[in-house]
């Protein structure tokens, strides 16, 4: 790629007017996400945060191409997203490993397709490198059922990184882990991301995770018609150290802002729901 047609760094990923509506046989379409706009810089780590069911995972799967859009466009590195592909690797909430393959085999499956011209030796080195990077050097040849939940998720991360993606999509990757494992894995992932400078989008509902891992937090309003509510820059330098981040006074400041936004969203939801419910209750009574 010549420098001339290189995508400008500050518009590496552009999401504009993104909408998702599901047909409803008994009325108007259910619009989950509407007019979602977000631009991500090259190498930036952005998190989507919001209440459960607000549509943040929907946005992520649409960026991944696993879910069709109902409107708007997504452009990654100058190319419109038209379907899933290894340039936008996903780490799913459940590890989604193939249980009949070892950890090694699971990672290799993707590598084989992304590097069709590499020989067996090179591919093996690449897989081993990725598994070592997530701390699985000793468990490479075990099957998923022999691994703990945290280790399975590490394999998922290794599989995604091995694809050398332009954009890494993490869909609540630590949601199902206990807090100790989660912290450990956050460190592992952050280290790997820093090392490779991969542009990343993380869906989470954990405020601490968002502040600790990301350069920018995108707060989503509660659906239906979810969109970007507020953007918050996290000014910490990378690479980061957990203890330093937690001890800094700004950390609590940022955390408080996030929590405030989320609390406001919750009130708004309760209010709107009460409005919506009222007529029905009357009818029932």
């Amino acid at each position: 790629m010549t420098p001339e047609d290189r995508t400008p760094d500050d518009k590496f990923v552009e999401i504009s007017g993104l909408t998702k509506a599901y047909p409803n046989p008994y009325g108007d379409d259910v619009v989950v996400v509407s007019d979602f706009n977000l631009t991500i810089k090259r190498g930036e780590i952005v998190s989507l945060i919001g209440h459960s069911g607000c549509g943040k995972s929907t946005v992520l799967t649409m960026v991944a191409g696993l879910n069709a859009t109902s409107g708007g466009g997504i452009v990654v590195d100058g190319r419109e997203v038209a379907g899933p592909g290894p340039d936008r690797a996903v780490v799913f909430q459940a590890p989604c490993l193939l249980p009949w393959m070892t950890a090694f085999g699971n990672v290799l499956l993707g590598v084989r397709n992304v590097y069709p011209h590499a020989d067996v030796e090179e591919r093996r080195d690449m897989v081993e490198y990725c598994l070592e990077a997530v701390g699985l050097a000793d468990a490479m040849h075990k099957r998923p059922c022999e691994l703990s939940g945290g280790m399975q998720q590490r394999v998922g991360v290794a599989r995604a990184i091995a694809l050398k993606p332009k954009l890494l999509l993490l869909d609540e990757p630590f949601g199902r882990l206990d807090s100790l494992t989660r912290m450990q894995l956050q460190d592992v992932v952050l280290r790997t991301l820093d090392e490779h400078a991969i542009t990343t989008m993380i869906v989470t509902h954990d405020v601490d995770e968002a502040v600790f891992m990301c350069d920018r937090v995108c707060m989503m309003t509660t659906g239906p018609n979810a969109r970007v509510g507020r953007l918050l820059d996290i000014p910490f330098q990378r690479p980061r150290r957990r203890d330093e981040v937690i001890e800094s006074p700004e950390y609590f400041e940022l955390r408080a802002q996030l929590l405030e936004f989320l609390a406001a969203q919750e009130h708004a939801t309760v209010a709107s729901r009460a409005d919506a419910d009222d007529p029905q209750q009357c009818a029932a009574a």
């Binding site: 799913f92 989604c96 193939l98 099957r143």
Partner: protein, 535 residues
């Protein structure tokens, strides 16, 4: 070590052995003993109760094919089947023995024959004694009955004669015009007739009572007869074996032939004139061919049950393989494409319930069409040339049975494969899409591995269906196998045929069980997540 054994037990599905291993290693003895009681002792006790009831109830039910055999009789029949098989094997080897081996085998057979000759006489005497004893005992038991019979029958004879004489006398006295009196006489005759019939019935019952006593089982006699039969059979076998070792022996026959050939050759050398020489030359050529065919010949061994079992196993395996080769690809296509599934649905729905009894004649005709001359066809010759199975003489009936097995058993595999392929996990599909796998990779790395446990569950059902269908197919097609054995037993009416059919029940059951267990092991080996398997 312990855990390796336990793992092997778990994989093989023989979980009832696990408590024994655990008990042997001293792990929670009371828990293990309770498990052993439940999983091993209770089934054994239940089976023992079944055998006990069977041996009590069987003799009470008599059929026209003889008594329902008791467990002991069935066991004897099983041993008889095995002895027959072993003896035929002996004859087969005896046929090809040569030189010293033949001599020593002949010697042994003669020795044994000399050994049992006196036993024969003894057995005969014992049977005669037992018979005598029985008839004496029967005579004693029936004496009062017979006396009664004699008395009653004499009295009834006299009564009947007297009644008839009285009637004749009255009839003589009745005038032609006396209609009323004549009609009354007719009534009297009917009465007499009725009485006579009643008396006859009574006599018949008395005789039947005497017969029943005579027909009672007499253990001493049947034991003596059994011993006599065993000796007679062995004697017959030894005579036959000696024959096969001498005059019928392949090498002896060939040697006789060679001798004849030498004689003919010297005659030919001495012969005078073209006509005589031509006749001798033709004779020499004929004899040489005969000797050659003798050298290659084998003992014409009849099929014994163990051989038929092996042939049935091969047949079910061929049918199962054929069915699976058809069912799995179609099942995969059905699972992948709802359109193809819709196209196949009418065939599956229509053909699945068809009975093997219908498929078999169709298969026989179709196979017959493809193989008009079974003695000279590449498929038949190919089977005959195979190492372990060549002796089984694969014929069109065998192929038709195998095809019937395939047609009846493949549906379970097809439906399960389609289900397994169609119900692939969404997570796995998403991974495949994200990695943008090619269709081939998607099929072989994602779809098939995830469908394998269900495919094997289907194969397991197919194999047990196939085994059931096979017996019926063999019975109808007269393809040598277990089914044909049952049919032969049903038709031949020998005293132990009924018992031999019971043996077949247990043989078929055990083999079906073994096949099922083998399939469970396979199913467990391909189940990546330790999928639960039924018993």
């Amino acid at each position: 070590m312990k855990y390796k054994i336990l793992k092997a037990i778990d994989v093989s599905g023989l979980t009832f052995l696990a408590p024994i291993v655990r008990l042997a290693t001293g792990e929670e003895p009371d828990v293990q003993i309770r498990a052993i009681m439940q999983m091993i002792v209770v089934p054994i006790v239940a089976f023992a109760v079944f055998v006990g009831l069977w041996s009590q109830l069987a003799p009470r039910h008599k059929t026209k094919s003889g008594e329902v055999p008791t467990p002991a009789v069935v066991w004897d029949a099983a041993q008889g089947i095995w002895t027959f098989h072993a003896r035929e094997g002996d004859k087969e080897t005896a046929y090809v023995l040569a030189g010293e081996q033949r001599e020593s085998a002949l010697m042994a057979a003669k020795d044994r024959l000399a050994e049992i000759d006196p036993l024969t006489e003894l057995a005969d005497r014992q049977v005669a004694d037992a018979e005598q004893e029985k008839s004496a005992q029967v005579a004693e038991l029936t004496a009062p009955l017979r006396t009664k019979l004699a008395v009653v029958s004499e009295r009834y004879g006299a009564d009947q004669a007297a009644r008839k004489a009285r009637w004749m006398e009255r009839a003589d006295r009745t005038a032609v015009s006396d209609t009323d009196a004549r009609l009354a006489l007719l009534g009297a005759w009917n009465e007499h007739d009725l009485r006579t019939r009643e008396e006859r019935e009574e006599l018949k019952n008395l005789r039947a009572e005497i017969d029943t006593v005579g027909a009672q089982a007499f253990p001493a006699l049947s034991a003596a007869q059994k011993a006599q039969t065993a000796i007679a059979e062995e004697r017959q076998f030894l005579r036959k074996r000696i024959e096969v070792l001498t005059a019928y022996n392949r090498n002896e026959k060939a040697r006789a032939g060679e001798q004849q050939l030498a004689d003919l050759r010297s005659k030919y050398l001495q012969a005078d004139g073209g006509a005589a020489m031509a006749g001798l030359a033709a004779n020499i050529a004929r004899t040489r061919t005969r000797v050659e065919s003798i050298r290659e010949s084998n003992y014409a061994r009849p099929y014994t049950l163990p051989m038929q079992i092996l042939r049935s196993l091969l047949c079910v395996f061929v049918g199962f393989l054929l069915g699976s080769l058809i069912a799995i690809p179609i099942g995969i296509l059905c699972g992948l494409s709802p359109t193809f599934m819709a196209a196949m649905m009418p065939f599956i729905a229509l053909f699945k319930p068809v009975s093997p009894i219908v498929w078999l004649p169709i298969a026989l005709i179709v196979v017959g069409g493809f193989i008009p001359d079974p003695d000279d066809h590449w498929l038949i010759n190919g089977f005959a040339g195979l190492p372990l199975v060549g002796w089984m003489k694969i014929n069109p009936a065998f192929l038709a049975s195998a095809i019937t097995v395939a047609l009846c058993s493949m549906w379970a595999t097809m439906v399960n494969t389609a289900l397994g392929v169609a119900s692939i996990d969404d997570d796995h599909t998403n991974v495949a899409r994200m990695l943008r796998l090619s269709a081939r990779e998607r099929l072989f790395r994602i779809v098939l591995p995830s469908a394998l446990p269900l495919i094997f569950a289907g194969l397991r059902i197919s194999l047990s269906v196939g085994w059931m269908v096979l017996i019926a197919a063999e019975l109808l097609s007269s393809s040598e196998g277990i089914g044909k054995y049952v049919w032969d037993m049903f038709n031949n009416g020998a005293s132990d045929s009924f018992a031999k059919m019971f043996v077949v029940v247990f043989v078929v059951g055990s083999i079906g069980l073994a096949l099922d267990r083998i399939m469970i092991v396979f199913q467990r080996l391909v189940s990546f997540d330790g999928a639960p398997t039924a018993i």
